[in-house]
Amino acid sequence: MQGNYLAKRIGQALLTFFATVTLTFVLYQMMPGGPEQALRNQILSQQMGSSNTINPEQIEQLVENYTNLESDAPIYVQYYQYMSSVFLEFDLGESLYSEDTVTSLLAERLPWSMLISVYAMVIGYSVSIVLGAVMAFKEKSRFDSVSSVVVIGLNSTPYYVAGILFIFFFSIRNNVFPTGGRYGLGIEPGFNPAFMQSIALHAALPILSMSVLGLGTALTMRGNSVRVLGEDYLRVAELRGLRNSRIATQYVGRNAILPMYTQFMIGIAGVLSSSVIVEEIFSYPGVGLLVYDAIQVRNYPVLMGSLIVFTLVTIVAILIADLTYGFIDPRISSGGNNE
């Protein structure tokens, strides 16, 4: 049973991945001005300024070199070629405007995005779990009502507005944090304190503004905790004279956080996609900024490549959530046998 379920679930994940990539490929192809046309336009507009002309064959040749696609081939052939290069050769093509391969661009940027996303998630969710739990314990108190209003307010504030406000107050007015970039100029990259500190300072504001995204979870946590506080097993635990710390963590905490586990994993996707805007605001050169720039100049291979990475991360996160849920909640037996 167990093995069956695992195989089935991984199969589903692969199918989802494949379908997403296919759908995106088709959508990009259907968009007015596909990758080839954008590139052709780019070359033609460069030509306009100069006097020398390139003949159409040369243009076709250039387009083909840049995008790994035979631009005149029917769409299913293009699709086949792109997919086989992605899935069989793990080759995402080259950027349209530089000599770099998409893979190397992503590999260089991804760790920086991961840095701010992971910290943003950890901070956002930890703060909201603690806040939600405290709100539930002090239900109907002034603290509860004030925090509820504040959290609802923050949750309704788009993170990019928060980001802009942070830049204004912390960087421009008070000069506490830098306005952008990954680390300060003239600092020797490497494993030294000055470099580390610079990274932390530069990452602080993006992390802070993305953490705001997770704050809505505090309300979910509050609701779950209030529900658990009314459960019979909590009363029995109190009657049994258990330590308060055990009741708070093992009884209230665990049962209130459980339903949110999948939500956390899906949240990874939200954090990744929000990084596009956040990194643009803070000119933080991660994958998000790469995507943003690629959209500006219609750098389709880079867009496709980033999208594939985003999809992969999301699908893997949900897969892990599904497969591990049975371990953290014994009531969920790992599927399969109840069908």
Partner: protein, 354 residues
């Protein structure tokens, strides 16, 4: 009852809830003595305050309820404990070690995400008991409630049936060797056979572990099979208390008699079943005189103005009615047995041994 043999002594107990429309008094000036090693049944209709009375034994009335008055616990050896004056940490030690409580929500009394073993272990750990010895005791207890320890300890609550959960909870309640076990409708959600088997089980456990049982229910037939003494609650106080036989054959409060008369009988069609006319009082209202007078056929001026104290009917039997000696004529019980049988409890335990 002699004071030396009293294990829990309740005096002037009041349980109140502050509500928007006024103070709700759900237990009013209750006095009660629980004798060591007896089984005391507390019976009354829903909302008569019986759960609140029993919760006060552990000072465990749910917030925002407040218990005032005196609840004194007399341990086997040592000083009496005033339960309502214990600090939070003292209370945590007191609960489950001296008085344990199994209450009506047995179906969901276990943390759904941990095994039954964890429940036993954490209880022992938080009361600073020796864990290996305690777990041996847990296995013994599980066996004595007819459960297979190896299977049960590794199970989660959702893997057990209702009856198994209830029995596992009873085993859990005895793991710290309490002297008193309060059972608040422990059989409410179980089928009849399981109810009877739990009752038998409790009787065996009581003999084996020298327990004092306080059993709360609204199931009178069930209670007669288990209890040595029965206290009847009406409108937030005890109106009659006596041995099971006293109450069955010589009920001396009109409410008790009416209650006995309403006990369903399969041979009687639904439309002919007896009911007590009127409705129970609101816990916010102040009731002048006897709390039962609006529904009592015997009520007169005195009942409307004065609150009757507990009157002694016999040595073991008290009733809060001015006319306790006239009650048997005024309120007849249609299916009442004519005479008290010679050998105490046995007549009431028809088929109780299954």
């Amino acid at each position: 009852m002699s004071n030396s043999d009293t294990i829990v002594e309740v005096r002037d107990l009041n349980v109140t809830f502050e509500m928007n429309r006024g103070q709700s008094r759900v237990v009013r000036d209750a006095d009660l003595d629980v004798a060591r090693n007896e089984t005391l049944g507390i019976i009354g209709e829903s909302g008569s305050g019986k759960s609140m009375l029993a919760s006060s034994f552990l000072n465990a009335v749910v917030e925002p309820g407040v218990s005032t008055g005196e609840v004194t616990y007399h341990p086997d050896d040592g000083e009496p404990v005033s339960v309502l004056d214990l600090s939070e940490s003292e209370l945590n030690r007191f609960r489950w070690e001296e008085i344990a409580m199994v209450f009506q929500g047995a179906m969901s009394s276990f943390n759904p995400v941990t095994t039954i073993r964890t429940h036993f272990r954490e209880t022992l750990q938080d009361h600073n008991r020796d864990i290996p010895a305690g777990m041996d005791r847990a296995r013994e207890l599980l066996e004595s409630v007819y459960l297979d320890p190896d299977r049960i300890l590794d199970s989660y609550a959702h893997e057990l049936s209702g009856g198994m959960k209830q029995r596992a909870l009873i085993a859990l309640s005895l793991v710290l060797e309490p002297d008193v076990l309060v059972l608040d409708e422990p059989t409410a959600a179980l089928d009849l056979l399981m109810q009877r088997s739990i009752v038998t089980l409790l009787r065996d456990l009581q003999a084996e572990y020298d327990l004092t049982l306080v059993f709360i229910t609204h199931d009178l037939p069930l209670l007669t099979k288990l209890a040595d003494r029965i206290a009847v609650m009406y409108a937030f106080n005890i109106v009659e208390i006596g041995t099971t036989d006293d109450l069955l054959y010589n009920a001396s409060h009109p409410y008790t008699r009416a209650l006995l008369d309403t006990t369903p009988d399969l041979n009687v069609p639904v439309e002919e079943m007896n009911i007590i006319e009127g409705s129970k009082p609101d816990p916010v209202d102040h009731i002048p005189g006897c709390s039962y007078h609006p529904r009592c056929p015997m009520a007169d001026e005195r009942c409307r103005s004065d609150d009757p104290p507990m009157m002694t009917v016999s040595n073991s039997h008290e009733s809060a009615c001015f006319y306790y000696d006239e009650a048997d004529d005024a309120v007849t019980i249609s299916a009442a047995p004519e005479t008290r049988p010679a050998s105490g409890q046995s007549a009431a335990t028809d088929g109780g041994e299954n």
